[in-house]
Every structure is written in structure tokens, then in C-alpha cells.
Amino acid sequence: MSKKKLLNSKDIEIILHRLACQLIENHNDFSNTVLIGLQPRGTFLANRLMDLLKTAYHIKDLKLGLLDITFYRDDFRRKETPLAAETTKIDFLIEDKKVVIIDDVLYSGRSVRAALTAIQSYGRPENIELLVLIDRRFSRHLPIQPNYRGRQVDAINKERVLVTWKETDKKDAVYIE
């Protein structure tokens, strides 16, 4: 199947700055806000946003947690191979905090549904928002929409949106294949 580039590294950089500014508009100094990156791929976006907020926008004391949702997924035992968990690292309480869940691609909404369940294990947040780099419109199985989106993509179901990050894949890019 042919692979078409949707976003290059420059596009992604611009989008990250825009997302960071949108977050600041709603969360000011982030004193009552925590960022939660979804394992495995959402953590790259979450780390990148956190670095940007700290270095370019001088936000101090920003809290970032990494959440694995494997044990909360609804496709347990529907796959041929076992679902391997990643590390969950949340060393703060989210009770009464504003939580921003961060993932790279929003597709069916099932991962976010699992994350909403998983996050309850860390307390009762004041509210939860969703930030994604790519919002695949028209592919949702559940009534879940992002509060912040980098780019909206219309892709048919057989197509796959692939996000690469320079930390693991050598370059920042988004492809559709």
C-alpha cells in the first residue's frame, strides 16, 4: 500500500506550539493541572509538549504522568498474541486536579475509554480533557471527541495513520498508508 506524508517535522513543530498555547490559555500556570501521556505512543507527544511548555513558555512545576491502559482495554483475549503492558508512572495524586490525557492518534475512542477508566485508580479528577495530534474523523466507535487536536484527518477504515517520532523512529512525521 502506498504511503503518503501528511505532516513533516516543521508542520509538527508548528502544531506543537499551537497546542501548547491552547493549553496555556485554559490552564494558565498549570498549578492545578497534570498531563497524562498514554502508553506507548502518546508518551512521545506528552514529553514533547512538556519540554516545549517548560523551555519556550517557561511553565514551572509541570507534572507529567505516563499511563498504561492494557489491563483496562475491552479487546482482552480478542487478539492472537497476549497484550503486553507498558510501565505506568504516575507519582502524584490526581484528586481534584485538571487532567489532560494526551495521545498521538484518536481513532475508535476505545483507548481513551480505557484511559478514562484507568485514571479513576488514581483519584477523582476535577475534569478531564483530551489532546491528540491526529483526530481521525468519522471512525469513532464511542462518543468521544478531543478538546485539543493537532490535525483532523479524513481516512477510510482500511487506511492507517502512522506517527513517527525522532526519539524512536529517527524523524518527526505523520503518514497515511
Binding site: D68, T70, F71, Y72, F76, R77, T81, P82, L83, A84, A85, T87, T88, L93, T117, A118, Q120, S121, Y122, G123
Partner: protein
């Protein structure tokens, strides 16, 4: 990721090193889960598990039940003492009746060696051996190895002595299999009467002098003296056993190094181990109990992955 190579957990001897690595890796994640403010995940919400305990048990039964409930499975408990087994019902009939209630996984402790293997051939459910006679106790051995790995970083190359009643212990046999598989050196120590003749064929050495064994080892796994399984007198008196094979602070102080002390419980305090040693900072007995829940969650989770509706 590959799953477990086995369909049931009947004994350590059926596992390979990849299975053990997978169980430990999964247990690491569950250990994080059980230390959260809310210690429950919904993974097994459509799985029913029967705990069949034909022999008495406190900690293993509680540990399994907690593991199952923290995975959100439905749990039914069965104790032979209050059941129709007393009226002469056979094992197969008991289990088949329970399985008719649509049970997916059976956790069974039984007094007879091979009861789990027998059951796995006759019923259509995943079987987890929670101890079969004097044969195997695989989940205890896995949590013991997991605890050693947690304390010392690795099991490979470590020197471990199993002290006490080897003859009647299913924990000793499963531990020997698990530790050898992971590359540890294993020694057994106890009265000659309580060490089976075949034991060296499993790749372990025998030491009858407790002091020498402790000087050699990094970890001492102390076993309970199982009076209830002894049909004859294996040693002259409990007092003599304690003098020769009991672990106390004096003998530990004389070693010139700090070894790790383990015990699968329940402890005969003052017999195989003194209270101050059991409660000392060298002891990881309570870590073993905590790790037991995480390791059992991992085993149940991995076996449940194989169940297809």
C-alpha cells in the same frame, strides 16, 4: 509478545525460562497496580474462577482470592471440609459439578500428587496447581524467585540454600526446579532423614551442617517442619531439630555477612526460625506475601488470555 507455552500451570517442570520471564515481567506491572490507591483492574470481568481447596490453606487461598478479585474475576470458593467430598463424592464429580456452573479457571490444592495433571486431562478449564501433596507448589516457587530477583537484582548465579523438611515439601521441589532453570546454585540442608535420596539427581548438593550451608549461601529459604505429613518420627525431638537446624540471630551474626532470609509460611516460630530473625531486616517474608498477589495475578492474567469465547 509470545504467551505462556503451557495451557495450565501444573508445575514448574512444565515451564521454560521464557515463561518465567513473561510471568515476572507481567507481575512487575501488577505490583504497580496493587500499590495504587485503587488496586483493581477490570481485565477478567467475564472470567469465573473456582478455588478448590481439598487441603487446608490460609495464605495461598487468600492470596489467590485477592489476586482474582483485583483482576475483577468472579470467584467461587470450595473447601473440602464443608462439602459433599465428606459424603464420598469423587474428585471428577466434584469438579464437573462446579464446571457446570461455567467456570473458566480452577485453582486447586489437593493432598494427592498429580491431582492437577489428572484434572487437566478430564475437564475443560484452565488448571492452576496450588499445591499437590508433596509434589509441586509452582506459584510459591515463582513468588520466591520473584522476591529473590527483587532483593538481589537477579537469580542467576546466586547461591540459595533450602533448609528444613525437604522430604515432605512441595515448596522445596518447585523451588529447586525454578531456581535451577534461572541459573542459581542450590543446596539443601536438613536432617538426613528429611532429605530424599534422589535429590542430588536434580542438580543440587546436600549439606547437613547448617553453619556451613549458611556460610556458603546468599539466600536461606527456611521451610516449615511439616509434622502433619510425618507418619513416623524423623528426628528425636523438636528441641534437637531447633538446635541443629533452627535459624537464630547468633548463627547469623557469626557469618560475617548478611544473607537474605525467606520462609513460605506458616512459621513455627522458635522451631525452624526465631521470632527476631523472622521479623529482622534480613527477612523478606512479608515481601514474599505481597509479591505472591502480584505473581498470582500475572499467572491468572496470562492463562486467561488463552481463553477464547
Amino acid at each position: 509478545m509470545q504467551g505462556l507455552s503451557v495451557a495450565h500451570l501444573l508445575g514448574i517442570k512444565y515451564l521454560n525460562i521464557n515463561d518465567i520471564d513473561l510471568i515476572f515481567k507481567t507481575a512487575d506491572h501488577f505490583k504497580e497496580v496493587i500499590n495504587r490507591p485503587i488496586k483493581k483492574v477490570p481485565s477478567l470481568r467475564d472470567i469465573t474462577i473456582a478455588n478448590l481447596f481439598f487441603e487446608n490453606s490460609t495464605r495461598t487461598k487468600l492470596s489467590f482470592e485477592l489476586a482474582e478479585k483485583r483482576l475483577s474475576a468472579d470467584v467461587i470458593n470450595f473447601s473440602a471440609g464443608q462439602s459433599s467430598v465428606k459424603k464420598g463424592e469423587t474428585l471428577i464429580d466434584t469438579v464437573n459439578n462446579i464446571l457446570s456452573m461455567k467456570v473458566d479457571i480452577v485453582v486447586m490444592r489437593h493432598g494427592n500428587v498429580g491431582a492437577g495433571v489428572f484434572l487437566s486431562k478430564h475437564v475443560n478449564a484452565k488448571i492452576i496447581n496450588a499445591g499437590d501433596g508433596t509434589h509441586e507448589h509452582p506459584t510459591q516457587a515463582l513468588l520466591d524467585s520473584y522476591s529473590i530477583r527483587e532483593k538481589l537484582g537477579t537469580v542467576k548465579g546466586k547461591k540459595i540454600v533450602i533448609v528444613g523438611d525437604i522430604l515432605h515439601s512441595r515448596v522445596a521441589l518447585s523451588n529447586i526446579f525454578a531456581l535451577k532453570l534461572q541459573g542459581a546454585e542450590v543446596k539443601v540442608c536438613g536432617p538426613t532423614t528429611l532429605i530424599p535420596k534422589y535429590i542430588t539427581s536434580l542438580g543440587v548438593t546436600v549439606e547437613n551442617n547448617l553453619k556451613k550451608a549458611l556460610e556458603w549461601c546468599d539466600v536461606a529459604n527456611v521451610l516449615r517442619v511439616q509434622h502433619e505429613r510425618m507418619d513416623i518420627k524423623y528426628f528425636p525431638s523438636t528441641r534437637e531439630y531447633t538446635q541443629l537446624f533452627g535459624i537464630n540471630q547468633d548463627i547469623l551474626d557469626s557469618l560475617g555477612k548478611k544473607i537474605v532470609i525467606m520462609h513460605p509460611g506458616p512459621i513455627n516460630r522458635g522451631v525452624e526460625i526465631t521470632s527476631n530473625v523472622a521479623d529482622s531486616d534480613q527477612s523478606i517474608i512479608l515481601n514474599q506475601v505481597e509479591n505472591g498477589v502480584a505473581v498470582r495475578m500475572a499467572i491468572i492474567y496470562l492463562l486467561a488470555q488463552q481463553i477464547k469465547r
